[in-house]
């Protein structure tokens, strides 16, 4: 049975070029970039080259890139770092209810430390309104954190407009671009963001590596203490192999970006059209157009997400319910709750499909075929 992976928003396979690069670095380099000898210098050179590429990919300068262990650490650092560094100026933070838990749970921790957090709602399309942000802004607002594209339903947020608005306000502006980076054209100057989180494994790079863009002159209180790596902002010996792999992944992503966007949008259309043709009852959670190209979240009335996902897996198809779930957890998706309310059937019958490397048109047709068969079987009982 051919296995089909349509859960690229959870994680993605490493690109062969990334594996090649990492294998080479792993075999040839082991130095500590902080060492003064030749071994160290070679490793340092690799890290610097990578940092330059990462910076260039978002229109930043290398000194504005802090390499982290991934998106979660980048988000944690952004929020906690800004809050702690600015607590004398104010204690108010604005975010949205549909952020990734790396942001939401950090906000909850900050609330315990005396910060006040405003969680902005979203509309049925999963989009935050600019006027809500405007209204929530106060003199003591020190941080606004709004994600670029939602990981569960793909909804794109008006980051540029919010960035524009915040030019008039001293609050630091952070965006979690983990799911958008690599497919959306991101320029931090155009967006006017101060902080931006990225993860490598969502763009066919290695796991355990990511970065936080920190605009020059934005102050962050460190969350990790130790050596003087990353210009004293993030202690810990650099994961040189992963950093080199990250660089390669970024390079490939940039080369193939436009082609991928086109292809994934086509996949969405194929899946939606095939299901319509099979006369399956479904609706799209969020917008088909104003969304990340690779994320499609569908609701199938009369089905149950647990039975759907298991059946799909047994048919060789890997999809998910939005965010990775734990042992029989029934906590409904906070994103779908925000969009449709706690009582909505959609919380129990929605599936996320996310496309990426190695997916083919043929595969998407087969996904549609299997989904149609399973939905029919479950709903006809």
């Amino acid at each position: 049975m051919e296995r089909i992976y349509v859960d690229h928003a959870a994680t993605a396979p490493m690109h062969p070029k990334v594996i090649e690069t990492m294998t080479k670095v792993m075999a040839e380099q082991f130095g500590n970039p902080s060492s003064i000898h030749a071994f160290g210098r070679e490793a340092r050179h690799l890290v610097d080259e990578a940092r330059a590429q990462l910076a260039k990919s978002i229109g930043a300068s290398p000194n504005e890139i802090i390499i982290t262990s991934g998106g979660t650490e980048a988000d944690n650092y952004a929020l906690t770092g800004v809050a702690e560094a600015n607590k004398e100026k104010g204690k108010h933070i604005i975010t949205t209810v549909i952020e990734h838990h790396a942001v939401l749970h950090t906000c909850q921790q900050l609330e315990k430390r005396g910060f006040e957090v405003t969680y902005l709602p979203v509309d049925e399309q999963g989009k935050v309104s600019i006027s809500d942000v405007q209204k929530a802004l106060r003199d003591d607002t020190i941080l606004v954190s709004i994600m670029y594209g939602n990981n569960e339903v793909g909804s794109l947020q008006p980051i540029q407009e919010i960035g524009e608005m915040l030019r008039e306000h001293p609050a630091v502006f952070h965006t979690d671009a983990v799911q958008a980076y690599g497919l959306m054209n991101i320029d931090v100057k155009e967006l006017n963001v101060d902080l931006l989180s990225v993860s490598a494994h969502k763009i066919n790079g290695p796991k355990g590596i990511g970065f936080l863009y920190v605009k020059k002159d934005v102050k962050l209180a460190p969350i990790l203490f130790g050596g003087e790596q990353e210009r004293k902002r993030r202690a810990g010996t650099e994961s040189v192999v992963s950093i080199a792999g990250f660089q390669e992944a970024v390079k490939v992503a940039q080369e193939e970006r436009e082609e991928k966007v086109k292809q994934y949008r086509e996949f969405k259309e194929i899946l939606v059209n095939d299901l319509k043709e099979a006369q399956i009852d479904f609706s799209i959670n969020g917008s088909l157009e104003n969304s990340l190209p690779h994320v499609l979240n569908l609701s199938f009335p009369g089905t149950d997400v647990e039975a759907m996902l298991v059946n799909l897996d047994l048919a060789g198809i890997a999809a998910s319910s939005g965010s990775a779930c734990t042992a029989g957890s029934i906590d409904p998706s906070h994103v779908l709750v925000a969009m449709f309310g706690e009582k909505s059937e959609k919380l129990r019958n929605s599936i996320r499909f996310s496309f990426g490397l190695y997916n083919t048109t043929k595969q998407i047709h087969r996904v549609a075929e299997s989904v149609a068969a399973i939905v029919k079987r479950i709903t006809n009982r």
């Binding site: 298991v310 047994l314 042992a327 029989g328 957890s329 029934i330 009982r381």
Partner: protein, 371 residues
């Protein structure tokens, strides 16, 4: 015609214990298309967000990966609350001693979960129960597990023909010690894991404390049947008929036992001596009788019965009544037959079915003090 094992999909209900682990192992060895599923029925998340269910699921994951079968989790918290826990509380409120395991098997494991398994294209649902299913005389029969000490048919008595047709008990024909041995041989992560004890959702916690979280405890008097106040109780729900521990009555003479309850007056009746005459009854009315077989039964017949788990069999005569009720007359008086518990009938090795103990009689008179 039965399908070949490799074309037969079996969903195994896995708890993270050794019994269900070995059940899955044996099926896999027999060549079935096996899927392990962990059922989460109860949320016991503590203040740090940790729950024992997560640890049990971790064990399910380890074992399934060792055996080489896919694993999933399914959540029945809502169904469990509605069908089992609500009943559990109602029975305690009524002064009875419920059996949530019987209800869980009837409503959750072999109903909601069975349905889920069928939704996944399964041919059978298997569990790690000590019981056996055999086809005989054109129907499915449920037999006691080979390991007499571990036999769990008492808890499975409400299962019907239609349910049992889709059920497998892979460890029913081996001894518990052998189950452990097989687990060790296969190096399963759960090979030496301690057996769970008590009611599943309470686990190792203090029963009194747990129940007190859901039902208000009303302390009252302990009296003899003659009306003499001999002590105080913490709340009627904390006591079951025949119980000795926790009464806290000191003094001279033989130990004291709970022998009944007066809900209206909030009084716990107690009496002295293990073999107190008032603890004995000779017949009952049982309700919600269910039979494994769909074949008609004679109006009156003899068989054996258990009135609590692990009790030796008692000879009885069953008189079928209307509305799923039966009068059960014992050959010899039996101690501490308790309303709310299950009465389960057997013919030799075969579990015939069972019901709920409702009214208790002695010498033709209803023992109203018992309940």
């Amino acid at each position: 015609m039965k399908k070949d094992p490799k074309d037969t999909r079996v969903v195994v209900g896995m708890s993270g214990g050794v019994d269900s682990s070995v059940a899955a192992l044996l099926l896999k060895q027999q060549g079935y298309d096996v899927i392990g599923i962990f059922m989460k029925n109860w949320d016991d998340t503590d203040e740090f967000g940790v729950c024992t269910a997560t640890e049990d699921y971790d064990d399910v994951i380890r074992v399934c990966n060792q055996i080489g079968i896919p694993y999933y989790a399914v959540n029945f918290e809502k169904q469990y609350w509605d069908k089992v826990f609500t009943y559990f509380l109602e029975e305690y409120k009524a002064g009875r001693t419920p059996n949530p395991d019987v209800m869980c098997n009837k409503e959750i494991k072999f109903k909601a979960f069975l349905e889920h398994a069928m939704n996944l294209g399964a041919d059978y649902l298997a569990t790690g129960h000590y019981a056996r299913v055999v086809e005989r005389d054109g129907e499915v029969k449920m037999l006691r597990g080979i390991d007499e000490n571990k036999d769990q048919t008492y808890f499975l008595n409400q299962l019907s023909q239609e349910q049992l047709e889709k059920v497998m008990f892979p460890i029913g024909d081996i001894e518990k010690s052998k189950v452990r041995e097989l687990a060790k041989e296969a190096g399963l992560a759960t090979a030496t894991k301690k057996d769970s004890t008590g009611i599943c959702f309470i686990g190792e916690r203090n029963f009194k404390e747990f129940l007190g979280n859901y039902l208000p405890a009303q302390p009252g008097n302990m009296e003899t049947l003659e009306g003499e106040v001999v002590g105080k109780h913490d709340g009627l729900m904390y006591y079951t008929i025949g119980q000795r521990h926790g009464l806290g009555i000191g003094g001279q003479g033989e130990p004291w036992f709970a022998i009944g309850k007066d809900l209206k007056r909030n009084v716990l009746f107690v009496g002295q001596s293990f073999h107190n005459d008032k603890l004995y009854s000779d017949s009952i009315i049982a309700t919600d009788i269910g039979w494994v077989s769909n074949k008609a039964k004679p109006q009156v017949f003899e068989c054996t019965a258990k009135f609590r788990y692990r009790q030796p069999d008692n000879k009885v005569t069953v008189h079928l009544l209307e509305d799923g009720k039966a009068k059960v007359v014992f050959d010899e008086p039996i101690r501490a037959v308790t309303p709310g518990q299950a009465v389960v009938f057997y013919d030799g090795d075969e579990c015939l079915g069972g019901g709920t103990i409702d009214e208790i009689f002695k010498d033709g008179e209803r023992l109203t003090y018992v309940g």
